[in-house]
Symmetry: C2
Subunit: 254 residues, 2 copies
Amino acid sequence: MSGKATEVSLIGLTGLPEVRAGDDLGTLIVEAVSSLGLAFRPGDVLVVTQKVVSKAEGRVVSLRDVAASPLAQSWAALLAKDPRLIELILREARRIVRMDRRVLLAETQHGFICANAGVDRSNLPDQEIAALLPLDPDASAKAIRERILAFCQTEVAVLISDTFGRPWREGLTNVAIGVSGLLPLRDYSNTGDDFGRLLTATIIAVADELAAAAELVMGKTKRIPAVLIRGYEYATGEGRASMLLRPPEQDLFR
Amino acid sequence: MSGKATEVSLIGLTGLPEVRAGDDLGTLIVEAVSSLGLAFRPGDVLVVTQKVVSKAEGRVVSLRDVAASPLAQSWAALLAKDPRLIELILREARRIVRMDRRVLLAETQHGFICANAGVDRSNLPDQEIAALLPLDPDASAKAIRERILAFCQTEVAVLISDTFGRPWREGLTNVAIGVSGLLPLRDYSNTGDDFGRLLTATIIAVADELAAAAELVMGKTKRIPAVLIRGYEYATGEGRASMLLRPPEQDLFR
């Protein structure tokens, strides 16, 4: 292509082994990048899917080991669900936001609002296994980032992504649940016109857009658990996923 | 890079002239692609920002020509806004969803729920000018797609994007408000396990993810009003933006 065009590349990282609890995910990713004949470059963004992070961190539970409380049992009957999964969801939830139509919409301990408090059974080898969200996805991102820095002497940003629903619009999109090395919001305001600023879209959730872009390459299989985004210019800094949480009192959309 | 990796490219189309009412946007885009030394390939996705579509279609209004109704005047006083802009928003809105904190959240004639019914003053040469959403963004996308087919004999998909807010999460992201040539939702379900399917994220709004990815290249300037996405495999078909609207009775998130 022409050198005049602005280009961003989304490169899927295949070749990671099946990840197990205790694996050093950062090292596995560094090896996968190398075995693809690639090398990290300063300014790259690495997006890693939550599922593989949860596996590496042992945030995977066998339902056989879960005893459902009476509350979980009664809700499970209402929702036509497995009581042990309801039990896990209740444990992961800080608050139930809605409970209807066979779905539990919950706020997680991190403050994310998502279906089933992030508990999920997809892409797991055994249907009796459920994955929970990482305890601290920012720390998960930071650990991978530091591994890349140590092995490759290269500063990159790392996002942990998950697939969330949203109101009003059909379908789910990938969002960032863990952030390290970039600022997840970008303020495009360049005018003192207060009216203009309020009317127009000025603060962009770039971390969520990066996660969404990565999903296009990941698809919904476990074959591509991480995507390298190259050519996107971002603001470095101590970003956190909590910056993407809108305080209820400022949330007109709720 | 290695041929083994899966790669998607986001290529910003610079070089479009300032677009005016009556311009043939499809032709301008074909010329911009050519002047960058590029050529459309079958399976490309072209994402075009709403603002440039609205300009080409004359969906731009001078506030000097807008007479605010008494209702618009009284709301404008409450919201500390220009009454003529409130008048435009009320004309564009099918329904006011929320009205608070100096923002009007409205449902447009198309069924989109967004701030100010999509009326916006950013990236316009004159602060007395406001842009409205295209009347039929699917038709706008189709017209561009047909121009590309006619000039280049190449089948691509075209999305019209805009930047919307969302509940619970800070910042805005690009979504698709017009669709032609692809199916905007992708169903990853591959299991008969009803519980698993309900628990997990299986229907992905790929059109919104493509629009979000394009925003990473567009930024919030008018310098890059369109982005070519190359290497993404999608399901072709008669997609419409209305497929991305969740019926209220199925919307647990509202």
